[in-house]
Symmetry: D3
Subunit: 131 residues, 6 copies
Amino acid sequence: MSERYRRGIDIVQRLSAGSLEEFLTSRVAEIAPDFARMAIEFPFGDLYARTELDFRDREIVAIAALATLGNAGRQLRMHVAAALKLGFDKAEVVEILMQSAVYGGFPAALNALADCHDLLAEGDSVACRRA
Amino acid sequence: MSERYRRGIDIVQRLSAGSLEEFLTSRVAEIAPDFARMAIEFPFGDLYARTELDFRDREIVAIAALATLGNAGRQLRMHVAAALKLGFDKAEVVEILMQSAVYGGFPAALNALADCHDLLAEGDSVACRRA
Amino acid sequence: MSERYRRGIDIVQRLSAGSLEEFLTSRVAEIAPDFARMAIEFPFGDLYARTELDFRDREIVAIAALATLGNAGRQLRMHVAAALKLGFDKAEVVEILMQSAVYGGFPAALNALADCHDLLAEGDSVACRRA
Amino acid sequence: MSERYRRGIDIVQRLSAGSLEEFLTSRVAEIAPDFARMAIEFPFGDLYARTELDFRDREIVAIAALATLGNAGRQLRMHVAAALKLGFDKAEVVEILMQSAVYGGFPAALNALADCHDLLAEGDSVACRRA
Amino acid sequence: MSERYRRGIDIVQRLSAGSLEEFLTSRVAEIAPDFARMAIEFPFGDLYARTELDFRDREIVAIAALATLGNAGRQLRMHVAAALKLGFDKAEVVEILMQSAVYGGFPAALNALADCHDLLAEGDSVACRRA
Amino acid sequence: MSERYRRGIDIVQRLSAGSLEEFLTSRVAEIAPDFARMAIEFPFGDLYARTELDFRDREIVAIAALATLGNAGRQLRMHVAAALKLGFDKAEVVEILMQSAVYGGFPAALNALADCHDLLAEGDSVACRRA
């Protein structure tokens, strides 16, 4: 186990309630274990581990980028969950998704909001999936 | 309620059988009511309300753009429904989706056609969802 | 020379003042003559030749799709020139580009407008290139 | 039936176990029969039929391009199935999808891997659909 | 002049040294004055004016989204200039662009860095344009 | 200097006549030296170094993906140069770019061909830049 992986997996665990790690160590890992490892090493072990930006700023980067892409609902939900765990208000996350409409268009932003509805709704949210 | 919103909601109601308004005032509106409002004000209250293009031309713009994006099936179906309500032939809408393959590629166009299958099939179509 | 190519090149000539044909028969044609031929046969010989949509509607499709892509300034300018030749008002073309911001975002629409500035400015426009 | 179509459908049949042809002659064909025909004529009858690249290289092109798009899971699965039928190792296909992360980002590559999980898992895979 | 526009233009002036306003009131404004107005009203007058996110967070959203798009160098440079004026370290902006490679791929991130080279290089940077 | 970097830079040197290394060690490296290093480590040191695909197949992946993106002319030219150095015929590279039109649309493919005109033209080609 590389130092980069160890560092990455540690960050992933601090960020998420386990869902990200779960994903990276299950379905994708089953057919592409080396890529699941790289998907922890490069984004988390290399980038998130750098101190130029704190985790709060990095989650803004991730959420804004993923909402703009418009076809990464799975990853978007993971990072929204991470952001909420880090202490973001739901209203802040909603605002990031709203602003992404300026750059990526309304459909991408509307779909991002719908994708994360259950995570961002008030009250309890048992599960989050596409409307 | 702003004049822009009033103007937008009036256009949305004329264009759709209610499905667009339904979407904009429900799931997204639940977590982002201000964005649901903006998604009526800017596209419909500001742009559709302008007389430089009529609704017919505007629906061609919407359908061509959404088919090219390739990941906005939900919005595409709404605008296809609006176009049919405005009097487009199904064959005209199919043709717009076909031509979008030139600019956005065959997969985007094939998926757009599959996404709107139930709206564009002959005979009645009770519901439209992804194959 | 296939019938599809003959039909396509005839349509291209009616649509453009020559610039599209020029492009398709020069730089790309030099290294990929078969593709230059296909780029006339499929979009124009196959699709534009169909009567389900008239040329006016087809230019709306092309301009909306190309503006949404955000990285096809060259093709966008050709179709804007074709639209103007077909009788579109400059204000109508501007409006199509404006509406594309809803679907593809403001940067794509702003760049589309800047890319076509010289074609859409009042007065004479000798040349059109990126700002 | 055009010569291009005949040539294309012959290639599609050699490449796939039928799933591609099935798709192109069913749901899309129902509402857009001419486009289903074109989707065989141009990609397969025109391009795949050319001898500048063999089918093996063409499937690498298709898989890399579709994984990079990030929203063409349906087409991606068809071409992955075709590649396996042509004799690609599962490990080679996984590697193509992994490398696509460099150009199209990690979310697109992760989703491509998840989309094709059942085709690429060891053992038998009866069906393949999104996780 | 609408209240939204007044509010937006005030924010634009505080954010930029003028370059954004310059752009929005010149080339695009010449052919599409209403769109130049809307491009201030909606992003700045509506969204930036909301207090759910501060300007610092909003610039992270803008830069991450624009770098991910990969074809909005002009807007990216404006927002990088705004971020530096707001007090971001060059190293922080570089880090946002680096992280965007995870979501949008290495080419988009490399081009974003090259596009903003002159703004992010140490020492003085008189002008910034594509390498 | 990490082992991954050493391995990556060695591969880059074998693949290119220096242009890729030049890029990665100059303009981008000036403002983001760590990213220039990562852009060698991950794509080349990690992925290209794996033996599941040979360099020939990997260049097909790179060229197909970059042509589909439509806004990565700089990286596309580097990989086209690498492919030619590896022994690809110009006609093979042209064919990859042609086939990418199926997935990413005609404008992306036409621009890819125009971007690489000088590399793919018969006779000598001293330099290659956008038309």
